[in-house]
């Protein structure tokens, strides 16, 4: 059991090198390659089933490609996955929230496993996404949009240099989408990188440095 205390490493350079991946008989990733630097945002688009989620999960290291590598700072991430994971935050389709805990408790456990987060910072994050009013309610009583906001608060709490976001704006109203945009802009401004899978327009202040279109 690894009792290392691993700190985040800055992600100045993320590269995907000709990723090939099959799911059963389907050739999902057909030689995906890109380079992403500090303060840059990569938008991954494509129709449903084109492999956007698969690409994000491969970048995380959850899925292993049949060929190709993911490089961070020039090193294959598979050589030291825990360190790479410490530097990234992955938000999938569903917000990883427990229905029987309050929004605040969810954040406390979810982020607390990764970083020690004092209560004041937690409250600040909840205020940031406009969740202060209902953060003490059980998540099962919240709407889909509210749950998504709690997930965003988690994003705001983590000082993760790399964000991997899968359709972060689903279920959000215009105000919620503005919050996403503001958070993403701040992330890019402080030198972080974002890979976002979405077929919608990126929220206002954010511009994609490059767009990767996946074909089904």
């Amino acid at each position: 059991m690894n009792l290392r205390d691993s700190g985040a490493v800055p992600v100045n350079h993320l590269e995907a090198e000709d990723l090939q991946l099959w799911r059963g008989d389907r050739h999902v990733l057909k030689g995906v390659a890109f380079v992403l630097g500090r303060g840059e945002c990569l938008q991954v688009t494509g129709t449903n089933g084109a492999g956007k989620t698969t690409l994000l999960r491969t970048l995380c290291g959850l899925m292993v490609p049949e060929a190709g590598r993911v490089l961070c700072e020039g090193r294959d991430v598979r050589k030291d996955l825990p360190a790479f994971h410490s530097s990234l935050m992955y938000l999938g389709h569903e917000a990883p929230l427990k229905a029987d805990l309050t929004a605040r408790e969810n954040l406390h456990y979810w982020i607390g496993v990764r970083r020690s987060v004092p209560g004041s910072i937690l409250d600040a994050a909840l205020a940031r996404v406009g969740a202060s009013a209902w953060c003490e309610r059980l998540v099962r009583t919240l709407s889909a949009g509210q749950k998504r906001r709690v997930a965003l608060a988690g994003l705001a709490l983590m000082f993760a240099p790399l964000w991997l976001l899968d359709e972060p704006t689903t279920n959000l109203d215009t105000e919620g989408q503005q919050v996403v945009g503001a958070l993403m802009a701040e992330q890019l401004a402080r030198g972080g990188a974002i890979v976002i899978a979405t077929h919608q327009q990126l929220p206002a202040p954010v511009r994609a440095a490059r767009i990767l279109e996946l074909a089904a």
């Binding site: 799911r23 059963g24 008989d25 292993v64």
Partner: protein
């Protein structure tokens, strides 16, 4: 160290062709050895002092039991290779082993029961060897059941492989604990599964049959692996080319 042969083996088309070429080399010797061994054991060997003619069933029982364990070990090793080096063909080998090993286990159980009937008067006794064989059967069934539960072949392969490795580690533990359990409850009638003291005339057919069964397993495995490869690679181009020629 030259690992090229190892990596070449990992290529499905190569293994497909190699298996086809090797099969007769295992199948014919296996047939000869098994027939010869059976003749020697069932006809030529003298009857046992204690057990009379009934002991002859060990010529099928012992090789079956031996194979059932050996196949499990091979299955576990193949699964480990597939899991660690991500080799699809290793998973195909492990998947092909399972039904063969399970069949050997059933054969061992049935012949063990037939052997015991004249001695015990009952069709079944919970002696350590038979009990271990039964548990081994459940280990095989669990492996096959887990694989069958996933539609995605890759997930089935990897989950099954992990189970096979866990099972392999547990087999000695389970076997030892079954022996321990049985030693506590020695039945008053001392008809146990002892191997009779064996003069060469009795032992040789047994060894011949052991080798014959091993070769038989190899032959059947090669045939099954080819079928597995066909099934898994059905969308690949090389299949169409190979089958056309």
């Amino acid at each position: 160290m030259r690992w090229t042969w190892f990596h070449r083996l990992a290529s499905p088309p190569y293994l497909y062709g190699l298996a086809a070429r090797l099969t007769p080399w295992f199948a014919w010797p296996a047939a000869l050895l098994i027939l010869g061994g059976l003749y020697a054991g069932l006809v030529l060997a003298p009857p046992d002092y204690q057990q009379g003619e009934g002991f002859r069933i060990i010529y099928v029982h012992v090789p079956s039991a031996w194979m059932s364990l050996m196949v499990y070990v091979i299955m576990g090793v193949a699964a480990a290779v597939g899991l660690i080096w991500r080799m699809k063909v290793a998973h195909a080998v492990a998947a092909s082993c399972a039904p063969i090993g399970a069949s050997f286990t059933v054969a061992a159980l049935v012949t063990g029961s037939l052997w015991g009937k004249p001695m015990w008067g009952t069709w079944w006794e919970w002696d350590p060897r038979l009990t271990s064989e039964l548990i081994l059967l459940f280990l095989y069934l669990g492996f096959m059941g887990l694989r069958a539960g996933f539609d995605d072949t890759q997930r089935a392969d990897r989950a099954g492989a992990l189970l096979a490795i866990v099972g392999l580690v547990n087999v000695p533990i389970i076997h030892y604990s079954v022996i321990w359990w049985n030693s506590l409850h020695q039945a008053p009638s001392v008809m146990r599964f002892g191997k009779p003291a064996m003069p060469p005339a009795m032992l040789t057919p047994l060894l011949v049959l052991l080798l014959g069964f091993t070769l038989f397993f190899a032959a059947v495995l090669l045939v099954r692996v080819r079928a597995e490869i066909l099934q898994r690679e059905r969308a690949a181009r090389w299949i169409g080319e190979t089958l056309r020629t």
